[in-house]
Symmetry: none
């Protein structure tokens, strides 16, 4: 899967630069511009360290985007019974959908003031929409790109963000050790069980790593050492 970000008739060059930046932040590099505003200093300033993405942007007519893409996804802020744009694809599922899609995927964003015209949306293979507050649904163009690229990239990298969670055996060892220390410090016997259950809930909610369990047991061990003196 090869994701292209296509800006259709972008009006503010600062937004084009900001889009280039957030693309690079999430590891995307193919920017396509359809009938873009002029790009000068402001675009470069907003692109910051993504000058390469901005400079490599392709200028192309919209027909070419449709003819060279395997899947064209339209973005829209307006969804509902009164628009023709029903049934957007759930954004949370977009990443996993794209991970099983082959070829070129183009995601289209319309001009800042108007969004994509209905005629273009109707040509798209799929629509996506970011759920916003009805009070102010119009997002800044680069913010919309940021959110959508985040949803795609976060589903790709889910595993690398995971921490090594402790096993059940390690957790039981920690609780057993805690129980022994409670006895050693002469914690009232009738309250011990409740304390242990509480600790189990706290540890469970925090999803302890193996390393954190070692750290906690290190502290327990030190209490025992000190009591033996």
């Amino acid at each position: 899967m090869d994701v292209e970000i296509t800006l259709v008739n972008p009006v503010y060059q600062g937004n084009v630069g900001a889009v280039a930046r957030v693309m690079k932040n999430f590891g995307f590099s193919k920017l396509v511009l359809v009938n873009s505003c002029a790009l000068d200093e402001e675009a470069r300033a907003m692109a910051s360290h993504a000058q390469d993405v901005l400079e490599a942007a392709q200028h192309a007519p919209l027909e070419q985007v449709f003819s060279t893409s395997n899947l064209v996804i339209g973005t829209t802020g307006i969804i509902g019974p009164h628009s023709k744009l029903r049934a957007p694809y759930p954004l949370a599922a977009l990443g996993s959908k794209l991970s099983v899609t082959e070829g070129v995927v183009s995601i289209l964003f319309g001009p800042e003031d108007q969004g994509l015209p209905n005629a273009v949306l109707q040509q798209c293979d799929m629509l996506i929409n970011i759920q916003t507050s009805p009070e102010y649904p119009v997002m800044n163009l680069s913010h919309a790109v940021a959110v959508i690229l985040y949803t795609i990239s976060s589903s790709k990298t889910v595993s690398s963000g995971k921490r090594a969670a402790a096993t059940h055996v390690e957790l039981s060892g920690l609780l057993q050790h805690t129980s022994e220390v409670l006895e050693a410090i002469e914690f009232p016997a009738h309250k011990r069980k409740r304390v242990l259950i509480n600790l189990k809930r706290i540890y469970g909610r925090s999803a302890l790593s193996s390393r954190e369990i070692q750290m906690l047991r290190g502290v327990l061990h030190r209490i025992e050492l000190r009591l033996k003196r």
Copy 2:
């Protein structure tokens, strides 16, 4: 749960305005500014139809943010074995976590050029991090806010079984007490700080209730009593 977005030492007024806009897009209205740059036309232009959020922004010292929040979340782009900032909370789970948290939740964002200093990150109850490309991890400030508010607002988890979350002051009291006990059991001085930071992360992830903090302090008190014998 009442989410506040706190910008610490923001440098570019356009970013402050853009943050106000995306807050309103996702239905958030409480903006707190700590030692902000001046806000003039550029901030207003970028805020677009979120002038109300920008105008209602509170200026406050950082200490006040910590003392009035139940949960303080620090954002950072730098995570890893070489930083002291281990174990960030998984961003995908943040929304459901907050949906069972009561009280004021402050999410802190550092200045554009530097991010939050380590001293502030260490004070935070929880850390979050947006996974970006190692090639260019530095996101625009308002893009980072956009992604994080999206993750919170898109989580539709129905909250049930809400527990009363402890305040920041109660948590600090627990950590101070723990620090005293570590000293009393002669836990190696050079390792104490790391243990305390690890415990803060664990407690932060598990969102301790006031009652659980009392329980934990009861155990600490019992250790002290036993050592005095």
